[in-house]
């Protein structure tokens, strides 16, 4: 092979490139092909953190036609209603302890 003249070697290289479907680049010019060969990292990067947990409230907001019951929320509302019936509910605006103290000080 080394005995062959250079033009013939180049010709051989060109033929090899056409056969194996590679780029013929005898002057080794920088064509930027290595960037085209790089793998796209986007899809693997995005999923680093586990997905955020979807709350039932978001689902029921998305589908208002379905009557989904959030048991925890229902329990909380029942609890509030029960306490209100016993007169232990949250005071109205301006009728809490602090508001009464502030009002008595003003006088």
């Amino acid at each position: 092979m080394a005995l062959l003249p250079k033009p013939r070697l180049l010709k051989l290289q060109e033929l090899t490139c056409s056969l194996f479907n590679t780029v013929y680049n005898p002057t080794s010019a920088r064509t930027g092909n290595k960037i085209l060969k790089q793998r796209l990292i986007g899809p693997s990067i995005v999923n680093w953190y586990p997905a955020k947990m979807i709350k039932l409230k978001e689902i029921s907001n998305m589908f208002p036609d379905f009557d989904l019951v959030d048991q925890g929320e229902q329990r909380r509302l029942d609890d509030i209603a029960r306490r209100k019936r016993r007169g232990k509910g949250a005071p109205k605006k301006g009728q809490g302890k602090r508001a009464i103290v502030a009002a008595s000080k003003k006088k």
Partner: protein, 109 residues
């Protein structure tokens, strides 16, 4: 300490920022790579390559892949994070000792 399996993340501000950066990088990656190809291709005209450089610089600073930080998926810690498990060293230890990481075993000799 959260040893129970769960699907959410403690969303610290830094983690949220990192998620946003990751989305931006993924979104702009294809166009960025195209510009990078034009810049590196010496067979193209210098004018075109210069224009590609300017366009690449005009992207949002957070769309650069180097601005991504691999944080702990459990606590959001930025340092001492094992890439394989996406956990910082302490969370890795906790999970490994409680047997939540398959194939990880404490060395004894």
């Amino acid at each position: 300490m959260s040893l129970k399996p769960h699907f959410g993340v403690l969303r610290k501000a830094a983690v949220r920022r990192d998620i946003k950066i990751r989305e931006k990088v993924a979104e702009s990656e294809l166009v960025r790579q195209a510009y990078r190809y034009i810049i590196r291709n010496e067979t193209l005209s210098p004018r075109l390559r210069r224009q590609a450089q300017l366009n690449l610089n005009s992207f949002d600073i957070h769309s650069r892949p180097t601005s991504i930080r691999n944080r702990c998926s459990e606590t959001g810690r930025a340092r001492g994070v094992f890439r394989e498990h996406r956990l910082c060293r302490f969370q890795f230890r906790l999970k490994a000792l409680s047997g939540l990481l398959p194939g990880v075993k404490k060395a004894v000799w």
